[in-house]
Symmetry: C2
Subunit: 321 residues, 2 copies
């Protein structure tokens, strides 16, 4: 073990990049900020001027996009060899999840909001399991299963696919976004898997039809998957949804927001019961009748709960897991 803080000669120069998964929910769609023809996540260099990584990200995002970043959380740090840049220098990417409200009309650097289900169409189960799993994914998965070396390996692959994609009466678990992406990647059903690493085409690896869903540069789609998974897990025990809501909202709007993120429907009475009995919100006294039915009460998030409670003590009724 190398005793700190003597600077070892083995240390090499490395560049650090910040990559952001910026999420907003607009009119019932979970959206993510993209650049470069919607094929990349916004990223920028980590500069010496920044006090810390988190403040570096905040400063950079708010300067570039003028978005007020409500909630920021570190996701994961990558440093794969493929990511070395033109000079051969190692690039470390530190990815962050950021939540914000609504989208202003930002137009710089062709930044665009895009529904995240465009990149992961199999993740949207709000109207039940999407048919595209059976139609577009299953054949490729079958081919991957059959391509395993022996019977035991085939059984393992089948079991893993069934568990992750909710096949053969496995229940759908919306949190396993990253694992599903990694399986599809491993099964060469993701276009990104064919780039860079040319060893991928050895042996009996036939090129299988790509899974639906828009690809991204480098490993940005994996980073996005990480962000979605983290957010889906987080909303169950931490009141972060409110960072995505306007100041006042109806309970149905809140529910739609949660459903958009979780990618599954929520039982309406239970949802209201949970929100209200936890006293996460308070009435504003006003009502909204945007939706042509009985006017709904408007609510506002009780920010004080963040101080009152142990921060891990809130729950949303998403069965899953």
């Amino acid at each position: 073990m190398d005793p700190r803080p003597t600077t070892s000669s083995a240390e090499h120069d490395i560049a650090a990049d910040l990559v952001a998964v910026l999420v907003a929910v607009t009119s019932g769609d979970p959206r993510v900020l993209t650049i470069q023809d919607q094929r990349a996540l916004p990223s920028g260099p980590f500069e010496l001027a920044h006090r810390s990584l988190q403040s570096g990200l905040r400063a950079w995002v708010e300067r570039q996009t003028r978005l007020p970043l409500g909630y920021v959380e570190q996701l994961y740090t990558f440093a794969d060899r493929d990511r070395a840049d033109a000079t051969g220098k190692h690039v470390i990417s530190i990815s962050y999840l950021g939540l914000t409200r609504e989208q202003p009309a930002l137009g710089e650097h062709e930044a665009r909001w895009r529904c995240w289900y465009d990149y992961f169409p199999w993740e949207d189960h709000r109207a039940g399991p999407p048919p595209l799993i059976e139609q577009a994914l299953r054949p490729g998965l079958r081919a991957w299963i059959a391509a395993a070396s022996d019977r035991a390996a085939q059984r393992g692959r089948r079991q893993r696919a069934a568990m992750l994609f909710g096949l053969e009466d496995h229940a759908w678990n919306e949190e396993l976004v990253l694992q599903r992406y990694e399986l599809l990647y491993e099964a060469k059903l993701i276009p990104e898997a064919h780039r860079g690493n040319s060893q991928a085409f050895e042996l009996g690896d036939t090129v299988r039809p790509a899974a639906p869903g828009k690809p991204m540069m480098l490993d940005h789609r994996r980073i996005l998957a990480t962000g979605i998974a983290r957010l889906r897990a987080k909303i169950k025990y931490h009141p972060v949804v409110f960072e995505l809501m306007p100041d006042t909202f109806t309970l149905l709007q809140l529910q739609r927001c949660v459903e958009a993120l979780a990618g599954r429907q929520v039982h309406k009475p239970n949802f209201r019961r949970l929100i209200e009995q936890q006293e996460l919100v308070e009435e504003t006294g006003e009502t909204s009748q945007e939706a042509g039915g009985r006017p709904a009460k408007l609510f506002r998030f009780r920010r004080t709960v963040l101080a009152e409670r142990a921060i891990s003590g809130t729950k949303l009724p998403i069965s899953g897991a």
Copy 2:
């Protein structure tokens, strides 16, 4: 937004360090591997030869300590300005949690296993709330509360302290390890808070008596807190405990291991019920009578559950939260 992958001129040279929180549980104590007179966590440079960060850490740890690393998980990436090394170069620290079984007699670089409660004595509630919270912590906390600018701020501080340390009929939540450390740090009850940043002694900041617990170099104690918190959260829904157990074990040994990590007692009948009804273990047919009572059946972890189940579907009876 800066379109990748053009290398921006604003990128500066940075060194990347890997820091490991290596955990083992021996004879009922949760231990962590330390170096430098038990004042630092093992760390090493990230080298170009490594395929990825994770494999870099694995290779380096296994080479230096000859420990078989069962489970590895990334914790957090730090890059605070204080961490700049002698040359003024930014140092990014990527911290990892690693689980291993037992300790061999490794003696290199004065590496030693040490009980993690030596660094966080207030975290051990296995025999009820430790008296040292009332005796050694409470006075300092009171002083910090009283030092707030106005009544509202005082109330906020009191509430936060009560929530985190289980005072004033708040329940103890064993997962909030990091938040507790950060509060003590902020309250200047942690010796590490007095180093480096000399601005800390402005205004009415009196030097309060330090909290008990062995300090560490740099922010290593914070990293350790992060690791403990992550592990305490993880054992509740993922069967990682078994990475810390020998091949065969009794249910009581397993329970003691969980209790050591969680820092609280567990209801024995409920624990056994949960473990058995989830079919996490299988009998070996043998029995153990190390403990001078009725011989206990020996069990073994059913590794297949990792494939069978969605990995998030296991639970341990730790009320908390």
